[in-house]
Subunit: 323 residues, 2 copies
Amino acid sequence: MALSEVALIERYFAAATAPREDVRLGVGDDCAILRMPEGRDLAVSIDTLVEGMHFLPGAEPESLGHKALAVNLSDLAAMGAEPAWATLALTLPRAEESWLQAFSRGFGCLAREHRVALVGGDTTRGPLSITVQVHGFLQEGRALRRSGARRGDLIYVTGRLGDAGLALLARQGLYVGPGQLSTLAARLDRPVPRVAEGLALGRLASAAIDLSDGLGSDLAHLCRASGVGAVIHVEALPCSEGVADYVRETGDWSLPLSAGDDYELCFTIPPARQGELEALGGRFECGFHWIGTIEARAGVRCCLADGGLLDAPIGFDHFAGDS
Amino acid sequence: MALSEVALIERYFAAATAPREDVRLGVGDDCAILRMPEGRDLAVSIDTLVEGMHFLPGAEPESLGHKALAVNLSDLAAMGAEPAWATLALTLPRAEESWLQAFSRGFGCLAREHRVALVGGDTTRGPLSITVQVHGFLQEGRALRRSGARRGDLIYVTGRLGDAGLALLARQGLYVGPGQLSTLAARLDRPVPRVAEGLALGRLASAAIDLSDGLGSDLAHLCRASGVGAVIHVEALPCSEGVADYVRETGDWSLPLSAGDDYELCFTIPPARQGELEALGGRFECGFHWIGTIEARAGVRCCLADGGLLDAPIGFDHFAGDS
């Protein structure tokens, strides 16, 4: 059966996502037409996943559909925005029905969970690559920027760090630790965007970023944007048992410090708000975990319990080393 | 010199496009933050260009930068929307400074011409592919949809048809006609989105679509969306001298009827508005050209002056034939 480009998006995706009244015209015309609620700003973010770079060839399509949307929802979460609409540009070597069905199932399931409507898209033939743009709403003037951290602010993260990195090592056969590695795979393949957490933090946090490239690298972005530095207490980093085992066995902190793909939030709060923050953290299963403090001096320093310093980790950069 | 992902977008692109007051936060955070004007709807469209599919390997980067934005602005034009913001997801085999400079020059020049601000982006390593999303404004409830054409409406196109197809034939060495082929190359490489024309048509046209896949195919989309059919008078199709020569020499109407990439607008108007439309056409260099009439019977029929019928042309479909 021949599948036209228009049919691909209309048939597999549009119906799989959430219906919304603010979508005046969805997939199928030259543009989608969308109505903004009054008194809100629009937050947008676009991200691409490329086969061989962000996922291994032959990756399971349902998880890919989930992840392609999740990494974008994570950007909205880091801004404290409420998700609304998505567009999808899908480049495929061929239109394989079973692949498309599974991909749209993963995409659609997460979209419905967050009341996201797919409003537009493009499909074309070529090496497998997935670009998603998300659109969300913000109360005017109330966004969690990277640039609001101030000296003395406390640094927190949601959830646990390093699970996705550990799952990748295991998948590549580079490390097999004691137990539960298979349960970590979901943390790599189906990251949970911290959307509700980001929305709740909107009134408390002074700055936020999501952890896609690794804590060290992403916190360094936040510090640069804020004109400050940070000290992290590595023993305070929240880790699963598997990651804790890895650190203990190898003495290597790189999983929680610099492995990417966790899609947790890293945020800062003024010390005066710590009580409120800790109370709020109780409402979320992933928890909010203190890991360090903002300092005036630039750079990210990693402290051990004995007072020693680790070298600051470097995050992942697709083009580092190119000239 | 190593170029980080963030630096790539910030350095080469953000400054190359138009500054706008409604951009509260541009490139460099987790999301861009944008303010919508009151009483307007948001129109969005996303399109991908893939090397080897939409352009030849080694294509000139300045033209690519222009075209990647132009094909999206053309979608806004077909909706009658006013361009505002763009995002860019660029997948590159390597970060080559001269390529990026030229690409951003082409992208930025067209962006400034239409007061478009680049507000976000992503760069990643992989096979060359360019995804752009554009965002524009519409008066509430006033959009040029594909679905508004009614029986008896007159069909018009802007500009001339088939130039891009002729330029592609020439570039591939498949046809060298008498004269001016080199001037046609710009029509393929640097299409002019009919933004002002689309805005002006907002109060007159009953339906519109932009011609990316070819007149026959795109008009068929419009007809299906409107639940109607169309008859085209092929001798009325506006053609450049080069395309007219080709048709005369070969007896083949496929260039103006089914070659893609012209990015002209095809639109319909109620017959009672023809006088206004013709007067309006005088304001635009590309002109508005009558080519046929909407009929109740489904399908697109192509009439010759002698009353004979051509077979309806089939447009380009990336996945046609896949099973």
